[in-house]
């Protein structure tokens, strides 16, 4: 984890605060330090490492969008359930969560934030297209962030 020391500072930056605090348009940034890279997603004031974000995001996507497009086999459902149960966040993440969400368990906080994001997109009549747009936007933001990382 290469950005711990910058998290609090990041949250105090007013220029990016709107994106950082938005549950609908996460801010994706990649940081580079000593040859290592780490992508962080800022959502509702919470900095989430990209792989952890993706775990929750994909699980939510399967739950919200799956339906007829990707019917889950039983073993997939079992794996999904097992992953949800087994998500563990390390102390770095716990420290980050404590910056903004002191009273709740981090896995609950992250799943709740991402659930709100999907719920917001699900209000439209054509939800699946909205979800696809959301996936594109996330991927493009991610692509942009790794092409132009922020060097620490």
């Amino acid at each position: 984890m290469i950005i711990n020391e910058l998290i609090e500072e990041k949250l105090l930056q007013t220029t990016s605060l709107v994106s950082i605090m938005s549950p609908l348009q996460p801010l994706v940034e990649t940081y580079e330090k000593n040859g290592g890279k780490e992508t962080i997603v800022f959502m509702s004031g919470l900095p989430i490492p990209f792989s952890i974000f993706l775990t929750f995001f994909t699980a939510a996507y399967i739950t919200f969008v799956n339906s007829s497009d990707h019917p889950l086999k039983k073993e997939d459902s079992d794996m999904l359930f097992a992953i949800w149960k087994s998500v563990e966040l390390n102390n770095d993440i716990l420290d980050m969560v404590n910056l903004s969400q002191r009273d709740k368990k981090p896995e609950y906080v992250i799943s709740s934030i991402i659930g709100k994001m999907f719920s917001a997109y699900a209000t439209s009549e054509n939800s699946n297209e909205q979800f696809k747009e959301m996936v594109y936007r996330l991927d493009q933001d991610y692509n942009t962030s790794i092409i132009s990382p922020i060097t620490l």
Binding site: T39, D76, M79, L80
Partner: protein, 198 residues
């Protein structure tokens, strides 16, 4: 496909299980092989089997039937069920799976069947072979396609994100089934165009 070889030297318990259970019947040239995530863990010096299976791949249905019969007669397993055998080693349970529906004529064919580059490892219990890209992507924990799947499975992204892998751009829409082939090819295939010497 240019393959590199690696000979494990540490005391990885996953490697020990492979030595104990499978080394006598594995063969790098003709199979069977052990391949995939369990072998990656040995190369990356990860001693925790986690949720990975030790997958055994066979060259034919006949060899697969012989192998299952061989395992079925052994009384060393904690449980046996339909080609999946649970083995206890140093208080850790290992799930050994004989892959039943896919057969391969060579190591290259086997490796090329994997969807992600970071899974392209195979072993005969003596050495491990892999592509250079498999090593790079494993060490970077980077998820890149070896080949695009005709039927994307979001659970594959879930599984690898849970393992800490971060996909290269294009993988997320591809695995979530967002239908835009041009976009996916433009953003992710360039990784496959890198030479093996990369």
């Amino acid at each position: 496909m240019i393959l590199q070889s690696y000979t494990p030297v540490d005391d990885n318990p996953i490697w020990e299980v492979i030595q104990l259970l499978a080394k006598p019947f594995l063969n790098m040239k003709n199979g069977p092989w052990i391949a995939g995530g369990s072998i990656r863990k040995i190369v990356t010096k990860d001693h925790d089997i986690g949720t990975s299976d030790i997958d055994i791949f066979c060259p034919s249905k006949e060899v697969m039937s012989w192998l299952m019969d061989y395992f079925d007669k052994k009384s060393i397993f904690e449980s046996k069920s339909n080609g999946i055998y649970t083995y206890k080693h140093k208080e850790v349970l290992y799930k050994i799976q004989v892959v039943k529906n896919f057969f391969y004529k060579s190591t290259e064919e086997l490796l090329n069947n994997f969807d992600f580059t970071a899974t392209m490892f195979a072993s005969d219990g003596n050495t491990i072979v892999h592509t250079q890209q498999a090593l790079i992507d494993s060490e970077l924990k980077q998820l890149a396609f070896n080949r695009i799947q005709e039927k994307p499975k979001p659970t594959r992204l879930l599984k690898y994100a849970k393992k800490g892998f971060v996909p290269i751009p294009g993988i997320i829409p591809a695995l979530l089934g967002v239908d835009a082939p041009d976009y996916i090819e433009k953003t992710s295939l360039y990784y496959n165009e890198r030479p093996d010497e990369y």
